[in-house]
């Protein structure tokens, strides 16, 4: 009976780590501070299949002090990770844009890892009217 139940659930409904767990995996358990990162996400999204986001971190981007990685996580997609960008002093500025999918209204978090090993984050929430990628499962 429990076997039947497990089969009837979508695969992602049980397996996904929470937003905080996913961030902890990325940071290796280090403390994540608020600030130094700006996440631009439209507050109202018409089409969750392509949501433009921009993440910018405050950093001089020199050899001694730069952003090493920028990661983006979501709260309620089937997978918590969205993307991880590797930057360096040759990036010049710590700014990245891309387009992402949002399965439902939720919170998106951007985390930046600095060259000194500190982590900074910013979060934003979006209301999604047309969901991405899992509409066939409901």
């Amino acid at each position: 009976m429990t076997g039947l139940l497990a089969i009837s659930l979508p695969r992602w409904a049980v397996a996904r780590p929470s937003l905080d767990q996913a961030i902890r995996t990325f940071t290796g358990g280090a403390n994540v501070l608020d600030g130094r990162v700006r996440l631009d996400l439209p507050p109202l999204v018409e089409n969750g299949n392509a949501v433009g986001i921009t993440v910018a971190a405050e950093s001089p981007m020199t050899e001694d002090d730069h952003v090493r990685r920028i990661a983006v996580f979501n709260e309620r997609n089937p997978e918590a990770n969205v993307a991880v960008f590797q930057l360096g002093p040759r990036s010049g500025r710590a700014i990245v844009s891309t387009r992402i999918r949002l399965a439902t209204s939720q919170v998106v978090v951007a985390v930046a890892e600095m060259s000194d090993g500190s982590f900074w984050s910013s979060r934003a929430s979006a209301i999604v009217t047309l969901a991405a990628c899992i509409e066939d499962l409901s």
Binding site: P78, V82, F85, G92, I95, S97, T98, R101, L137
Partner: protein
């Protein structure tokens, strides 16, 4: 494998920060969708994107299914010397697609 589109300024001053845009035509199939026959459509995504400047890797990205179809990435680079900027996209099967652009630095 797929059509790509990259946008790199043709010329820049030394030390200038230039914006780079890169896109590839790819469905980024998540593996969570169910096809018309009732079975899952298998996952097929671009897993990694990398950018090298005269052979040295200066930017890369690990992508997950939450990145939209036809993944678009915009980032910045410091124009150091004239040369080529190469872009590589690698998918789940390990196949890769490349694109390249030249930049003249004065």
């Amino acid at each position: 494998m797929a059509r790509t589109l990259v946008n790199v300024p043709k010329a820049a001053k030394q030390g200038e920060v230039v914006e780079i845009k890169a896109m590839i035509a790819h469905p980024m199939e998540t593996g969570y969708r169910i096809g018309p026959n009732g079975s899952n459509i298998p996952r097929d995504i671009i897993r990694r994107f990398a950018c090298t400047y005269n052979g040295e890797e200066v930017f890369s990205a690990d992508l997950f299914p939450a990145v939209s179809a036809n993944p678009f990435i915009a980032f910045t680079l410091v124009a150091t010397t004239s040369g080529t900027i190469d872009f590589t996209w690698t998918d789940d099967a390990g196949k890769s697609q490349t694109a390249s652009a030249t930049i003249t630095v004065s």
